[in-house]
Symmetry: C2
Subunit: 379 residues, 2 copies
């Protein structure tokens, strides 16, 4: 029996564990919370991520360890890695959790990233703002997510305010990228260097959090080929095992990496129904040395995040082709508590279904943005 230890027990661990249940792969999750999201479908080890005793339980019971978020400290994963395979490796995590290291690594591979500068002082900040021109972005090097730890600098006079808000946290300044749209790539690689790449996904953020995704993203064959070359170069250079999510900007038909996440990713949730083998199943297959599954799309999908509170369930389920994913989390403003995926066999069908879904979800205001993007999916 295969058994996977997951550091972190949030919704990503939950969906990994659910995929594992079907395959006969058991998951043990380590999480400090009393009742984390993954607990109902996995064995829950309660403990902090630095709790050596809890970590050693994973070592004793599991054949491999992974993690469901990138803000875990590297040290506990290194403790594990000395005792069992950790996939992806702590080295990858160390790169991905530091925006400076990440950007240097990517640029070192010759893959385009936005111009950037280290910010360790008010002087650095001012110099970067002048060099990059305004507006530019200031981001903490570590622990940023969902738009937190980010500032858009629009005038030099704001440097002092941003610097004081940083409270001395190491940061970087990034050039403002006038991108046409945001897309993401979900790639999976196994220890034998086999790869599978899901079709590009188009992402739309609302208030700094992913609002909805469309897949396959309306795109050209050339762009999918460029994405593939970029993704494979990246995972091979990292000797990556598991699912890697790559967030990209599209500019003039070319791609630039915004950031990477060394794990399954919100923008890949549509793969549960919208692809033959989901990102969750493929991550488990990769880390347990099982053959990778088919990443091709099944029809056309739109994924909508449920944030803060649930719309009425009856209305959602009355929509054709809608799949409800409830993470069984306590609703709280700004919290991701579930997602909805609507699938269709044709773009025309998706158009009608997505509109009905937004209405039922009380998110009709998104239709003006979504409608033209669905229309663009044809061809």
């Amino acid at each position: 029996m295969r058994r996977v230890g997951i550091v972190g027990g949030g919704q990503l661990a939950r969906m990994l564990a659910l995929a594992g249940r079907r395959l006969g792969i058991r998951c043990d999750v380590l999480d400090p919370a009393e009742n984390p999201c993954a607990a109902p479908v996995a064995r829950h080890l309660r403990g902090s991520f630095e709790d050596t005793q809890a970590l050693d339980h994973l070592v004793a019971d599991c054949g491999v360890a992974t993690f469901d978020f990138e803000n875990v400290a590297v040290a506990p994963l290194q403790h594990l890695a000395q005792r069992m395979p950790v996939r992806p490796s702590p080295r990858v995590l160390a790169i991905a959790q530091d925006r400076l290291e990440e950007k240097r690594f990517i640029r070192g591979l010759g893959i385009p990233v936005a111009e950037f500068h280290t910010v360790d002082s008010l002087q650095d900040l001012r110099a970067a703002a002048v060099q990059l021109r305004l507006p530019c972005l200031i981001k903490t090097r570590r622990f940023g997510y969902d738009g937190k730890g980010q500032w858009k600098l629009t005038q030099l006079d704001d440097c002092e305010r941003v610097w004081s808000e940083l409270e001395g946290t190491p940061a970087i300044a990034e050039a403002w990228v006038p991108y046409r749209r945001e897309v993401s790539l979900i790639v999976v690689r196994d220890a034998q260097a086999n790869h599978r790449l899901y079709p590009l996904t188009e992402n739309h953020h609302v208030d700094g959090i992913l609002g909805y995704s469309l897949a396959p993203a309306p795109t050209s064959c050339e762009m999918q080929a460029e994405a593939e070359s970029l993704a494979f170069r990246l995972v091979d250079a990292l000797d990556y095992v598991g699912v890697l999510a790559i967030e990209l900007f599209e500019m003039d038909g070319h791609l630039m990496i915004n950031e990477i996440a060394p794990r399954v990713h919100n923008s890949g949730h549509w793969t549960i129904e919208g692809a033959h083998c989901s990102q969750f199943e493929n991550h488990l297959r990769a880390v347990t040395d099982l053959p990778l599954g088919d990443a091709a799309a099944r029809g056309y999908s739109v994924m909508l995040n449920v944030i803060g509170e649930w719309p009425e369930c009856e209305g959602l389920l009355a929509c054709a082709g809608v799949n409800v994913h409830d993470y069984e989390k306590t609703p709280r403003p700004g919290r991701k508590i579930g997602h909805l995926t609507v699938c269709a066999d044709s773009v025309e069908e998706l158009h009608g279904r997505a509109q009905a879904l937004l209405r039922a979800a009380g998110r009709g205001e998104l239709w003006a943005g979504l409608q033209p993007r669905i229309a663009a999916m044809v061809g």
Copy 2:
């Protein structure tokens, strides 16, 4: 929060609970086993089905009760039904668990069934054999499954042996039906009399146990219409709520009911990946008064049961389009321990994928039977 009590904790309860997890519907399973199949994904109440205290836990904690197999006694369900909604109703269960009642009920609706006679004595048995002509089938009225409790009577001289093997168990004699093939229908109905019908499934038995199913079954529009009329008449007459499985014989392009199962059914397992909304999700939706989901097929599917022991997992997962469902049961000869569903967008693709799957599953001997049936799916 919706919460469903399930009497029985086998693989059907497990797959119901897994579907529920996604929707935010919790399932509590009552099962006497120490670690039943559904326990890792549901709350497990350990107790016999007659354990009033355990039943009252379901009453206290759940909004509705259902069951995952039809051989549970009616009395405990009546105990529940006096205290909470039980869906489908104990009355339906009482009919479905007795072949005589079931056949009388179906015939009473003007729906074709094989000719049958009650067998309560050796005299009855002889008389039935003469009237029905040989061969005919002798079946216990209750507790039969997977070909158990059945005899094929080929000569009158065997009456005494069969009668002695029955050991006085009430039985029926059924005419031998020279059917062309076996198909099944999965229908779901809610308390407001809304229906959804999955496409007909074609079933092939091996050693008395379902071996594999194809869906949608190669069939004509007229036959799907006949199936629909028959299914809707049946569930309406039973005031049925939930999923009902109907096993049918096809004879000269017409359908005759073989038996019904008042629950989700092995021949509907393909709906997890092969339909927009699975039989498991639709059963939960129906019993919790949520809108029914889309029962249309997504592409073409073949479902293969895993019986007795697991083939090597690597080989199975290396097959394109294959979904592995491991029930986490201890392997034992003749025991259903999992199933495999292979899906494809076209019949041609299914042909190649199904052949690869049979080979990887070590069931190559089934290909001679399956191959022409897949070929028949076109048109």
